[in-house]
């Protein structure tokens, strides 16, 4: 057992949820309570298993840790190869935290087909974790696509009135990007084989390949498109508000909290280091799209009447900021982007959760249906306010650190003007988020039926306060995270720089 925990910890973390899902299938469909509790227990177990990843992660060592490698399709050099660096470590922990939070919230709110729901979430967790730790492109692609199926069901079965449209759109959009990436992955491996005579899909090997000209551009675009759709970067974002609005609360938490980040993660892990020249050539475009996303997302969010849609568009805006940080490509802006992904996961996760709390009681998300409910639901109001302040970047909470690092890092880059635009986004986010709080919680008490609202239940309170505690922790001790991010970012920059030098040579 000790040896298993020592040598295969990462594999355990990835596959415990899937094993839990398989276990759940043995339960009768008529025992929803059992399915619920088992799923929650499995996700908490997975969280517990993932904590040693944090404590045993070495801050000083470069490269990937907790590595494991087993042959999978040896004829083609495809292996089950996993590992963690600072970037994936944090996202893995975010995933293992948010999944139990989402399931905890669902405890009292999902009545329909509980077993299927629980299975879908656990499979989704394995898919997300697998994509984050995979160091083999074929393995990554498998996990990446496997995520789609449970999310499709979560939106499509347990979602709102327009769930069918939303789930289909989500699936087709994501699939359109990933199919092109699939061809690009195959092409990469075939080229590697042509050059070296050996088959390999391993990231370490493929990093060493250099491409030039049109080939590199096309390959880069195939990867970048898949990830840009996932983020989503500005013109490709239209699936997101639909998916978020229709998804059940827990689905939105995971979607905003983790799934979107996988786009940025994929860009940093694959698109950028594999095709640095093209990535650098397109970085200004990326930054510009990020700027558009920040401003556009914020303006559209301000115009929303539906709380969930508002939070969904705020995600477009916040992830625009992350994209700007990636485009600026300084050590600081990259670190800020990675930190901000975690922050966004925590704050938006909490916002979706608390919107869900209100929705489950009133069955409407219209801003105008509320007003002045702070007096009725004081605890919800307090939690919501903290999440809002975290989201708009109040110093002392997590959002501030991330935004500030990105802005500073971008200022240091050649694209200084992006900082102005990004800063507007920060201001705009304060406007629309505070308006939201004001219209829902503070304004004069408007609707009598809101008198009946009940405050958070214990399970909801625990779920939300876990996130609040983490917000405060990240806000006050950001260096715990940044220390782990920085080596990974520096390695990334070093790899990119060395490859660029290599490709300059004739």
């Amino acid at each position: 057992m000790d040896a298993l925990l020592r040598d295969h910890l990462l594999t355990l973390v990835v596959f415990v949820p899937a094993a839990g899902a398989a276990l759940l299938l043995l339960f009768p469909r008529s025992a929803p309570a059992a399915a619920r509790n088992v799923a929650l227990a499995v996700s908490i177990l997975d969280l517990a298993l993932s904590l040693p990843l944090w404590t045993r992660f070495s801050v000083v060592s470069e490269g990937f840790q907790f590595r494991e490698k087993v042959d999978w399709i040896p004829q083609l050099g495809i292996s089950y190869s996993v590992g963690l660096d600072g970037i994936s470590l944090l996202l893995v922990l975010l995933t293992t935290v948010l999944t139990p939070v989402a399931l905890l919230f669902s405890l009292s709110h999902v009545e329909k087909e509980v077993r299927g729901y629980s299975v879908a979430f656990l499979v989704l967790e394995t898919g997300m974790l697998g994509s984050l730790v995979a160091l083999d492109l074929a393995l990554f692609y498998v996990f990446w696509e496997v995520m789609l199926v449970p999310m499709y069901f979560i939106i499509g079965i347990w979602g709102g009135p327009r769930r069918i449209y939303a789930s289909m759109k989500f699936f087709l959009f994501t699939m359109a990007g990933s199919l092109l990436m699939f061809l690009a992955i195959l092409f990469l491996a075939i080229r590697y084989h042509a050059v070296t005579g050996v088959w390999s899909f391993a990231l370490d090997d493929l990093y060493r390949m250099t491409f030039t000209g049109r080939t590199e551009t096309l390959l880069f675009l195939a990867f970048a498109l898949a990830f840009a759709i996932k983020v989503p970067v500005f013109p490709l974002h239209t699936w997101l508000p639909d998916a978020h609005t229709e998804a059940p609360t827990a689905g939105s938490i995971i979607l905003a909290g983790v799934l979107l980040k996988l786009g940025v993660y994929g860009y940093l892990r694959f698109a950028l280091p594999l095709f640095p020249d093209a990535a650098m050539r397109y970085a200004p475009w990326l930054g510009v799209l990020g700027v558009i996303g920040v401003v556009y997302g914020a303006l559209v969010a301000y115009a929303q009447h539906d709380m969930k849609r508002l939070v969904a568009y705020s995600s477009v805006s916040h992830l625009g900021l992350v994209v700007i940080g990636v485009g600026a490509f300084t050590t600081m802006s990259l670190s800020g982007s990675i930190l901000q992904m975690i922050n966004h996961g925590l704050s938006t996760g909490a916002l979706f959760l608390l919107v869900g709390v209100l929705y489950e009681r009133r069955h409407t998300r219209e801003l105008d249906a509320y007003g002045g409910v702070a007096a009725v639901v004081p605890v919800t109001t307090a939690l919501f306010l903290i999440a809002t302040l975290s989201s708009i970047g109040l110093p002392g909470l997590n959002g501030f650190v991330g935004e500030f690092t990105i802005l500073l890092g971008t200022w240091l880059s050649p694209h200084r003007w992006w900082t102005y635009a990004a800063a507007t986004g920060v201001i705009l986010s304060a406007i629309y988020m505070l308006t939201l709080v004001q219209r829902v919680f503070w304004n004069p008490f408007a609707h009598e039926e809101n008198r009946e609202l009940t405050d958070v239940r214990p399970s909801e309170f625990i779920a939300a306060s876990v996130l609040v505690v983490l917000m405060v922790w990240v806000g006050t001790r950001p260096n715990d995270l940044l220390d782990r991010i920085r080596p990974a970012v520096e390695t990334l920059q070093k790899n990119v720089a060395s490859k660029q030098i290599a490709s300059v040579k004739p």
Partner: protein, 485 residues
């Protein structure tokens, strides 16, 4: 030259024992039906035993050629034999509860299925175009009858007539092609097609095109596909489960054999272009038309047309890796497509009526196991990772990209995006739409449950651990004298 056909040696008999076992089982079933009709419920078991014995003989037959170099036993034919046997086993398992439900449990269904199976087997093992043709006709005759076996249902008679007319048309093309090749090469053995100079001959080119058309009919490759939706719709679903899988695999193998013999030094570009055009047409037409289908069996028919388009990419790519990819692809197609038909058979109560997809609404709750397997099969057909279908496409597109067929691979991938539209539509109806029917679907018979479980296990096993099958397929593909450019 003719002597070897007349006088059987012991080796010949051993080589053809698998087929003898099948024919004998078919006859036995008919005899039992005539003399002891009370044993009817053992027919399926008997048929399964026949297939099992046949597979045993196949796997234990000595490697080599018999009947004067006209009949082959090799790792390739053994692997393909396993694929065909798998299709037959699934069809028989699905047939038992299906025939019980419809009250048509008679021996001739199993007998005809087994005889058709013999025909397909002959096609894959014959090294002589005449044997291939005889196999094709044996298959066709058996299935013409199977298509019309429910005389009371008009759709079934219509299916039989349509299948017979188009099938006869296809056979005529094939035979004319064989005749031209015979005229050009002076023999009917496939090996003789590789004499020098033949690859440039116009008669051979024309003969090959006719063969392509003839087998295109059997593969339901666009534009020779028009029969498939109508026939699938009227034919008993278990027979469709077999017909939509096994003969297609056999036809592709024959095409690989013949093209491989003629184009020893690589396929000329005009053929490549023609085959690539067929592939693109079939993929695109199949996928786009499938989007508009409302009947489950018609939808699967068009999906099959599209799937054969993907397979045809491999034929255009040509070479050993392409053949190995096709072999893997067909195993994936077997578990996914036969599984989908098995689930359709289990999910619809009234066989005499059409099978509108809308009737499946809410089946995810009322018939959870069959629906889950159907969804899994559809995801596999769509090529979602961790399923067999993804592995099939993975090797196929890899072979295409490796030989520089970028456009074909791109069109193939875009097509699979289109296909997601209708595969997901069925999943949506299964799980996300409220039921329109108040009665639950028929309870799942044990044989259905076994067939579905086998398919699901196959899809996941092949999807997660594909390396051993790929190794076997590559080994098997190496027995054909194909050029790997």
């Amino acid at each position: 030259m003719n002597e070897s056909f007349v006088r059987f040696t012991h080796a010949d008999l051993v080589a053809i024992a698998p087929e003898i076992a099948l024919v004998a089982t078919g006859c036995l079933i008919l005899l039992v039906e005539a003399f002891a009709p009370r044993l009817r419920r053992w027919f399926a078991t008997l048929a399964l035993a026949g297939v099992a014995v046949s597979l045993y003989f196949l796997l234990h037959a000595p490697i080599g050629t018999t009947f004067g170099g006209r009949y082959e036993t090799s790792s390739l034919t053994q692997l393909v034999g396993l694929f065909l046997g798998g299709a037959a086993v699934l069809a028989i398992l699905v047939a038992k509860p299906y025939l019980e439900r419809t009250g048509e449990e008679r021996g001739e269904f199993y007998a005809l299925l087994l005889w058709g199976h013999v025909g397909v087997s002959l096609m894959t093992r014959g090294l002589d175009l005449l044997i291939v043709f005889i196999g094709l006709e044996t298959l066709s005759l058996a299935f013409y009858v199977l298509a019309g076996i429910f005389r009371r249902i008009s759709a079934s008679s219509e299916a039989a007539l349509k299948y017979f007319l188009t099938g006869a048309f296809g056979s005529a093309f094939t035979l004319y092609g064989v005749a031209l090749l015979f005229g050009a090469s002076g023999g009917t053995r496939i090996e003789e097609l590789s004499s020098p100079g033949l690859a440039e001959s116009n008669a051979v080119a024309f003969g090959l095109l006719l063969l392509l058309v003839g087998f295109g009919f059997k593969m339901s490759l666009a534009p020779f596909h028009a029969w498939a939706p109508d026939v699938y719709q009227g034919m008993p679903t278990p027979a469709v489960a077999y017909l939509s899988v096994a003969p297609k695999g056999a036809a592709v193998l024959v095409l690989f054999r013949v093209f491989g013999a003629v184009f020893e030094h690589g396929m000329p570009d005009r053929f490549r272009t023609a085959i690539a055009a067929l592939a693109i047409l079939s993929m695109t037409l199949g996928n786009v038309v499938a989007l508009a289908q409302r009947d489950a069996k018609r939808l699967l028919a068009y999906s099959g047309i599209a799937q054969m388009g993907y397979v045809t990419i491999a034929l255009a790519v040509f070479g050993r890796d392409a053949l190995a990819a096709v072999l893997v692809y067909f195993f994936a197609y077997l578990v996914s497509n036969a599984g989908a038909f098995a689930a359709v058979s289990a999910l619809y109560r009234d066989e005499t009526k059409p099978h509108p997809v809308g009737l499946l609404a809410g089946a995810g709750r009322r018939a959870p196991f069959a629906s889950a397997v159907l969804a899994l099969c559809l995801f596999s057909l769509a090529g979602i990772p961790a399923t067999a279908g993804f592995i099939g496409k993975f090797f196929l597109f890899k072979a295409a990209l490796e030989q520089g067929f970028y456009a074909l691979a791109l069109i193939g991938v875009l097509n699979s995006l289109v296909s997601i539209g209708y595969y997901l539509k069925v999943v949506y109806i299964l799980y996300m739409r409220d039921p329109v029917e108040s009665d639950p679907p028929p309870p799942l018979a044990p044989a259905d449950r076994l067939a579905l479980a086998l398919c699901a296990a196959g899809i996941l096993a092949l999807g997660i651990f594909p390396s051993s099958l790929w190794e076997i397929a590559r080994h098997a593909a190496a027995t054909l004298p194909l050029i790997s450019p």
